[in-house]
């Protein structure tokens, strides 16, 4: 990535040279490429963690993890509402040391995971520090791969049937759009988080759209509006700013509004999802649903 960055700069400078604008960086950038590009590539190509199994390094890694990663992934790497549980052996974006290094170093496109270098998150980490974090994550990894305790098949029936989850949630392209897509949630969130999301969905609202430069993602807030012609609508917020609203109504119809043209606009920090209490969902059945989510999430 660094090499790429310099290459970009060089191309820019070469272009300037071509257009007869002097550029004293072109040569420097090429030199840097030659001088640094190859060794840098060497570090990137490293497949194995040089510190694997070193307990002292794992401790340093824990500090780095606290500084740079705990913001989203929680103090013990168990995940929070923001980032996945990293203590699982099965990681969605790769299980090898090299893949973990790469994911931390460069971030994961299409997710909220930023690059650890260049001040992307925390204070940024050197390659050495990233390996320390990988070592730490290995040390807290759940030893035996977590086997879903429940009956996934039964969970699937509940999800698509009696509990009505699929009315609002999509899994592998099937289901509703009012709530977050749950295809990957079982592979990334901790069991505790999944339980909380079902039992008390309003405590931490699920995250919606994440914009590149924005600190906080939009959450799945409930919204009610009355339009200028008196139509009442309720549903969930897809996105909003000071002036506009993008929402789905309960029939999954998309509405785009200018807020000052609405007669009423009201959001509530509560999930549109009902809280599933013991009465409607026993612990046993909940375990089955979670087993289903985890089975799908592991695929």
């Amino acid at each position: 990535m660094l090499a790429l960055k310099f290459a970009e700069k060089t191309a820019f400078c070469l272009l300037r040279t071509f257009t007869n604008v002097p550029c004293r960086h072109a040569r420097l950038a090429i030199l840097v490429l030659i001088a640094i590009g190859l060794p840098v590539h060497g570090v990137f190509a490293q497949e194995k963690n040089p510190y694997a199994g070193d307990e002292k390094i794992a401790k340093l890694g824990e500090y780095q993890f606290r500084l740079n990663c705990a913001f989203c992934h929680g103090l013990g790497a168990r995940g929070g509402g923001r980032g996945p549980d990293l203590t699982r052996a099965q990681k969605r974006h790769g299980n090898s040391d090299a893949e973990m290094f790469h994911n931390i170093h460069d971030g994961i496109p299409g997710t909220a995971m930023p690059a650890a270098t260049n001040g992307g998150i925390g204070v940024g980490m050197s390659d050495e520090e990233i390996w320390q974090v990988v070592t730490y994550l290995r040390s807290v990894q759940v030893k035996a791969p977590e086997q879903p305790a429940g009956n996934g098949e039964h969970g699937k029936e509940l999800f698509n049937g009696a509990l009505g989850c699929s009315t609002c949630h999509m899994i592998q392209g099937k289901g509703g759009r009012l709530g977050p897509d749950l295809t990957t949630v079982g592979g990334s969130r901790s069991t505790e988080y999944l339980v909380e999301s079902v039992r008390n969905p309003s405590r931490r609202l699920a995250q919606g759209i994440f914009e590149a430069m924005k600190e906080f993602p939009q959450e799945y807030e409930a919204v009610s509006v009355v339009t200028a012609d008196g139509t009442k609508l309720s549903g969930v917020v897809l996105n909003q700013d000071q002036f506009t609203l993008q929402m789905l109504d309960t029939r999954e119809q998309l509405h785009l509004f200018e807020k000052d043209k609405l007669r009423l606009f009201e959001t509530r920090r509560e999930s549109a999802m009902p809280a599933y209490e013991q009465k409607t969902l026993s612990d046993k059945d909940l375990q089955d649903v979670i087993a289903y989510l985890q089975t799908v999430g592991a695929q």
């Binding site: 606290r66 705990a70 260049n118 925390g122 940024g124 520090e129 914009e211 906080f216 909003q240 700013d241």
Partner: protein
């Protein structure tokens, strides 16, 4: 070149700019020339440019031609509101402009005039300077550029070749330049200060201030006072020893250094436990202000290191989180005021200290990151008042002099304690403004509480060293923000405009009765300064992480803001 004041006809200005560019283009300077020859080439270019540049000036509402930005022009910046000569607009740090062509009655028709794409990733935090029709700004990764401020078209572009292993704590950002004579000055992420030729963007001098390998970097816009370039360092996350430096604008020679952590034998040294002062932090990473009447420059400092763990650095930890009154000629300390003693919540005091005169009272106003609005006597450094302007739980008591002090239970632990404001503060580095018409002080406030937990790691040079993990306290949701108008006479909030989420945009006030600011959702907007009503807005397409400024050319006022990778300028149709 000093004193050259050729007055050319209006049209000659653009021709002159063009002439300079064309001439420079013809100099064969692709790097194969010997150093001496290159130097000669630049001298010739400089000579010709001097003559041509004489005509490049005198734009805006006050048609007076000047060849160069002199130290006197910086002092008299109020006389040329068409220009924006320093980071905060004036030495008082008010970020207030007397330009009033864009006003409450016509701002609703404001339109984008141009956009300049830096093509840089990450946060774009710069405030541009505008001098006689030319705009100077910096972007992420220490790029700098000069634009035709009327059209946004680039005149030159500079990109620093940064080492791959720099340690910018919080983004590869730069907040802008300072100008004097034919040079613009900027600090770099590898902790250098450089002077660029205003006509070509060529490096005139380049000095290292400190070792970036140990975590030093520079992100702020320098401040020029007389013939000196004042800068401070970032690096409070790496256990640096902070300082403020002054460099000779002509040569880059260092004139003085003030260490923000006193060494053995110096007053304040006793406020550090053992050797903790050596890695005490207290970086000075936001531009200071200057009171010419008393020849005093005011600088603020950031957290002690490690920021969120007080263990091992017992004491008040001077001069972390402080306001410093320095003699700009010598760097000697006149007085200090510490906002947060023995800080454990990363409450940097790095908010521009704004100089305000109320009757015969000479004051400094600061809405601090720790949630209190401070009024301080500018002559003595004594506290006048400290009043919360946002949600505060870290302090519930004041000492004998009225300074808020930490509540013991707010001290971070291994498992975490909830504290307001959060680690990013009730405000942050983005600028406040003091409106000379409304006499109100406007800030962007953030309402976010965090859970602070410690990470008791050892110090290792160049490695992150802030001793903590913090994360948003979900039980204090929602997180939001606001523009707040504070009446300095009473410290009460006169009005607020709510943001949907915490914003990183500074605030500008103008004599048009307007406040300009941005939000995290990407809107740039104009508010009625008297009551906070939104009168105009524009969607920039990315969160605003910068403070707005305004300027004029040919009698037309512009307002500029950085957002995403783009610098936008707005004006009336």
């Amino acid at each position: 070149m000093k004193g050259e004041r050729a007055v050319f006809q209006e049209k000659s200005r653009l021709l002159a700019a063009l002439g300079v560019t064309m001439f420079v283009k013809t100099i064969p300077k692709s790097g194969f020339l010997a150093r001496k020859e290159r130097g000669l080439g630049m001298t010739i270019a400089g000579g010709v440019a001097t003559v041509l540049l004489g005509g490049m000036v005198g734009s805006g509402l006050v048609p007076v031609a000047r060849a160069q930005v002199t130290a006197q022009r910086l002092l008299d910046s109020a006389k040329e509101p068409q220009n924006w000569l320093m980071y905060s607009g004036d030495y008082a740090g008010r970020r207030y402009s007397t330009l009033d062509q864009i006003r409450t009655s016509n701002v609703s028709s404001l339109v984008p005039k141009w956009a300049y794409q830096t093509m840089a990733g990450g946060k774009f935090e710069a405030t541009p300077l505008v001098v006689d029709g030319v705009l100077y700004a910096t972007g992420a990764d220490d790029r700098a550029f000069a634009l035709d401020a009327r059209s946004g078209r680039p005149i030159w572009q500079y990109q620093r070749a940064l080492p791959p292993d720099i340690r910018p704590c919080c983004g590869r950002v730069n907040r802008g330049t300072a100008i004097l004579g034919d040079k613009v000055f900027l600090g770099t992420l590898d902790a250098h200060v450089i002077a660029l030729d205003t006509r070509t963007g060529n490096v005139v001098w380049d000095v290292g201030t400190s070792d970036y390998n140990k975590g030093y970097s520079i992100t702020l816009a320098p401040l020029v006072i007389k013939n000196l370039v004042l800068i401070g360092v970032s690096g409070g996350e790496y256990g640096i020893r902070g300082f403020i430096d002054a460099y000779d604008a002509a040569t880059g020679a260092r004139k003085w250094r003030f260490y923000t952590v006193p060494g053995p034998g110096e007053p304040g040294h006793e406020t550090w436990e053992g050797d903790s002062w050596k890695i005490g932090g207290a970086p000075a990473w936001i531009t200071g202000t200057y009171d010419a009447a008393t020849n005093t420059t005011f600088w603020t400092t950031g957290n002690p290191s490690p920021s969120n763990r007080g263990e091992g650095r017992g004491g008040d930890n001077l001069y972390s989180n402080s306001l410093l009154a320095l003699d700009p000629d010598t760097g000697k300390l006149k007085w200090h005021f510490q906002f947060t003693k023995h800080d454990e919540h990363d409450y940097d005091a790095t908010q521009v200290p704004v100089l305000v005169d109320e009757g015969d009272r000479r004051l400094i106003l600061q809405a601090n990151r720790n949630g209190f609005f401070y009024v301080i006597d500018r002559a003595s450094g004594k506290l006048v008042s400290a009043t919360p302007y946002g949600r505060v739980t870290w302090s519930n008591a004041k000492d004998a002099s009225g300074v808020p002090i930490e509540r013991k239970e707010a001290s971070p632990t291994l498992t975490g304690v909830p504290v307001c404001p959060g680690a990013l503060g009730a405000t942050n580095w983005f600028s406040p403004t003091y409106d000379l018409q409304t006499k109100l002080f406007y800030i962007t406030a953030r309402e976010q509480c965090d859970i602070f937990s410690t990470a008791p790691q050892p110090y290792d040079p160049g490695h992150a060293f802030y001793g903590s993990a913090y994360f948003p306290n979900d039980d204090s949701q929602p997180f939001w923000g606001a523009v707040r108008a504070i009446d300095p006479a009473t410290s009460q909030i006169k009005w607020e405009l709510k943001h949907l989420s915490p914003s990183w945009s500074g605030v500008l006030s103008t004599a048009g009765g307007l406040i300009f600011t941005g939000d995290a959702e990407g809107n740039f907007m104009a508010l009625d300064a008297g009551r906070g009503k939104i009168l105009w807005h524009f969607q920039c397409g990315a969160s605003v992480y910068a403070s707005p400024m305004t300027y004029a050319i040919d009698g037309k006022q512009y307002v500029a803001i950085a957002a995403g990778a783009t610098l936008f300028a707005f004006g009336l149709p």
